[in-house]
Symmetry: C2
Subunit: 138 residues, 2 copies
DNA sequence: CCTTGACCCTGAAGCCACTTCAGGCTTTTC
DNA sequence: GAAAAGCCTGAAGTGGCTTCAGGGTCAAGG
């Protein structure tokens, strides 16, 4: 199949597929006489694997690592476990950060219920005040 | 004060300060005879304002917008309210996404409690299954 | 046979928010 | 007078793509 069909059947943009090839996440495909890329069902699977890993917030570097591990079936999967543990910790930390951010944003939003003039807008006043308080505290 | 002192008193790296200047988030500073940048207390405040906005996950473009609004005190703060509402919605959406991701990652992690061989590792098998691959068959 | 349009190719640049690097100038301190 | 600390510029690198410019290939229709 050509790149367009691969793109349609995985939902990945053509440019992204070519990018993954450059980044060595997909093998170099065969070519037609007209220099078109030719893919096999195996390539569809590999691309799906990449997408699924990406949907789990893994970096391309991490996906590359996983693909490498998969290619040595007799090795140990220790690195996979470590990778996942790290991911989980990262996501937990990010969620905590975002929860704090939610509180801050909602509180800030409460300072201006209806449109004011800029000079009396509670949000802008609070933004300035908070920036100044950080100054006093640090 | 020179750029080094501004950096120390705000915790912002020198390179980032110069970057903010290029990006027109900080005004073009005066210079000494030796071509060193000279900053005023006003600049410290503006840089702190930028940092605080960044800590609220605003883009530099959004900070630029806020600075612009602040510079016209008699204008309306409608755009500020809209900006915050949008931010809040964004963060809420991201938190929801990450919660789902947490579940997925923890579930996946459960598939391999102790180090296996790659070919029997539950995590890798599940990753493949979810993506629609079964490398064991290849 | 020719053209149109869909499809494909490459390499380079753009995005964001910085960071890093290479190479050089200024000022202070010993 | 020489080293060290501080500053300068412009360019390139980061990640994960996307977009762009300027082409080549191929099947169908006139």
């Amino acid at each position: 199949m050509q790149i367009g069909e691969l793109a349609r059947s995985t939902g990945v943009k053509i440019e992204t597929i070519r990018y993954y090839e450059r980044e060595q996440l997909l093998p170099v495909p065969q070519r037609t006489d007209g220099n078109y890329r030719l893919y096999s069902p195996r390539d569809v699977e590999q691309l799906r694997f990449i997408c699924y890993c990406r949907s789990l917030d893994m970096s391309l570097e991490e996906v590359r690592l996983l693909i490498g591990v998969l290619d040595t079936p007799s090795g140990s999967c220790l690195t996979v476990n470590a990778l996942l543990d790290e991911k989980i910790a990262e996501v937990d930390a990010r969620v905590n950060e975002l929860h704090k951010l939610q509180d801050q944003l909602r509180q800030l939003r409460g300072f201006c219920q209806q449109p004011d003039e800029v000079k009396t807008c509670g949000i802008l006043m609070e933004l300035n005040r908070s920036a100044g308080i950080d100054k006093a505290q640090i």
